[in-house]
Amino acid sequence: MKLQRYGLVAGLVVGVLALSACGSDNNDSSSSAGSGSSASGTAPAGSIDCASGTLSWDGSSAQKTAVTQWVQQYQNQCSDASINYQGQGSGAGRTAFYSGQIPVAGSDASIADGDRGKADARCSGGKAIDLPMVLTPVEFIYNVKGVSDLTVTPSILAKIFSGKITTWNDPEIAAANKGVTLPDTTITTVHRSKDSGTTQNFASFLAAQVPDLWTYGTGQAWKAPGGQGAADSSALVQSVKGMDGAIGYVDGPDATKNSLTPAKLDVGSGAVEPNADTVGKAISAAQVSGDEQDVVLKINYGLKDAGAYPAILATYEITCTKGLTAGQAKFVKSFLTYTASDAGQAELAKLGYSPLPTDLAGRVRSSIDSLSAT
């Protein structure tokens, strides 16, 4: 009896030990398409100034897809480097950065005035700066039977998402979509339950374009009545795909991943689809404030120029000019140099983001060049 009992336990222990011996981090060798990545645009060999060690950071989930791709490319080039991005949210990232736990954070909003003190204190000897790195259009996905080319205006969006327009064949929608037969299906809107930068930018866009129609604030929390809440973007996409008559808002990459065609946006000068050019045009109209190293964008959500798509989101990397440990500083600088480079930004377009326009990219790059450890 005892033998059986101990035997079983011994067997378990041996099993566990065996298990611990048989796993591997090495995914390069045989893994089918893993290493021969079909992602072209691999940075030409030697173009990255590699750092070594581990970089662990956190921040916005909107840029997670971009960061994952960058990390892939960086690690492929730099065999001694290991980067780990949590993507738990801008708030969590900023908090971890201010308390010194991580050397860089991804954030959908630049450092708030109230947090300046904390942020600068964290960077002993220097200050905290914002570096815009990823631009994303806020895209509107929809599921309306028989409609594959939808155009919306800010006014239509505001009314749909606040429940004032309830069916797809509403005259205002029809007016923006001449020649398209719209069914009389009821509209179901899907928004983000979690606070998110996407919500914030969408709301800011509406508030700037049609302020009398959108009175539900410009914060990260969704406040308009009605509609359904989805916990995150993946649930949102599934909700929209699963319901006839649904419309929701997502980041560019989420729509691209699902091969969904977003609606065109007409801010007054014609229907515009979200792509690198239209987003670039909108960003070029943004004011860049902050001093030399701190690059803060004040996006003009109310832009009505032709060929511009002003419903956009900019994600910043917040880091220190000085005050990180030597290893961290080198790593952060090396990684950010890559992400801001042409090769790095070229990765973004494929994923559904928009690369930084040339001037802005130049400013960001020179700011990164000035980072140092002490």
């Binding site: 738990q88 949210g89 801008s90 708030g91 969590a92 009821t186 179901t188 339950s193 979690k194 606070d195 998110s196 604030g217 914060g219 990260q220 929390a221 406040k223 359904q228 809440g229 989805a230 916990a231 649930a235 599934q238 909700s239 699963g242 319901m243 006839d244 008559g245």
Partner: protein, 337 residues
């Protein structure tokens, strides 16, 4: 709490064992040494019990200390306001919607899970053939092996779409009860309190049923056989011998289950569509529970926001306290102890 107290030697005295409980009989053997083993072991177990209290005290302290600043900053009525906007100005947040939906989903889960769990436990202990009962019990316990995220995703991707028939049927035949009334024009998406209640019921079923099973299985055989010998049918035997014996165990198990249901985070977050409002139409609209609210808002919450979430955690804590307290009252009154 206990039906029969064990009589054992208290430290320092030897006693004549008395039958049926009661204080140690006089007539101690003087000079009996305190067994060190007893003292050590007793201290260890007391320490273990004290650790539980310590952990709870720490959690309570942390919850209270961190919620006070947010509660002070709140300009809306904490108990009746339905929205959650602690990081805006003015600071406004309230738990009305949270309270309603947490209790509603918990109640639904209990209504569905407790009878079924008792039935399952009875089936496995008294109706199934002895040889397979253990295996059957294992399968029911496998429901506990499913991680909560899988429950959430399965609920979202499979259960909710397939509940439309039931929702419409309930609306058609029982729509006169506001609970089941479905008033919208769209096809129901079923990301509602009702679906969340079903998912929670499935999640707490293994907990309640496995403990009930053990309790039912320990009914003294002589009581069972005595009932059968008197000519009771199997159900009458269960009704008279098993259920009364197992009552406190079942209640205890149900409270454990309810605790799990009230505090379940991820499954409810995925299945329930977020709506910060109160609605009795459980098949129609979504809602938001305490745990879900914390999970959703934590990532982006500012200082006041985080403290406000902790305040909501404190509320959940207090609710669980209240539930347990009333359960204790019920058990105590039944026993007459």
């Amino acid at each position: 709490m206990r039906e029969r107290e064990p009589v054992g030697p208290t430290i320092g005295t030897a006693t004549t064992p008395s039958v049926g409980g009661g204080p140690p009989v006089a007539g101690e053997i003087s000079g009996a040494a305190v067994r060190p083993g007893d003292r050590v072991f007793r201290s260890l177990s007391v320490a273990a019990g004290a650790t539980v209290l310590l952990i709870m005290a720490a959690i309570a302290a942390f919850l209270i200390v961190r919620s006070v600043p947010a509660l002070r900053a709140n300009t809306a009525d904490f108990f009746t306001f339905e929205q959650w906007l602690p990081d805006e100005s003015p600071v406004q947040f309230g738990i009305a919607a949270l309270l309603f939906h947490t209790l509603m989903t918990g109640l639904l889960a209990m209504i569905m899970a407790v009878p079924v769990s008792i039935g399952v436990a009875l089936f496995i202990t008294y109706y199934a053939p002895r040889r397979v009962s253990s295996t059957l019990g294992y399968f029911v316990d496998l429901l506990a092996a499913v991680p909560s995220i899988v429950y959430g995703l399965w609920g979202f991707a499979f259960l909710a779409p397939n509940l439309t028939g039931l929702t419409l049927w309930l609306d058609k035949w029982f729509g006169w009860i506001p609970l089941f009334d479905y008033q919208l024009q769209n096809r129901p998406n079923n990301l509602t309190d009702f679906t969340a209640g079903i998912i929670l019921a499935i999640m707490i079923l293994p907990i309640i049923s496995s403990i009930s099973r053990e309790v039912f299985g320990q009914v003294p055989r002589d009581q069972v056989e005595a009932a059968l010998a008197l000519g009771a049918t199997r159900w009458e035997m269960i009704r008279t011998s098993v259920l009364p014996f197992g009552r406190s165990g079942v209640v205890s198990a149900s409270i454990l289950g309810l605790g799990r249901a009230l505090g379940e985070t991820l499954a409810v977050t995925i299945v329930l569509s977020t709506v910060y409002g109160i609605s009795w139409h459980i098949t129609q609209s979504g809602g938001v529970t305490f745990a879900m609210n914390i999970a959703l808002k934590y990532g982006e919450a500012g200082t006041v926001g985080t403290n406000a979430l902790i305040a909501s955690g404190l509320c959940l804590f207090i609710i669980t306290l209240a539930v347990n307290f009333s359960a204790q009252l019920i058990i105590r009154r039944r026993k007459g102890a």
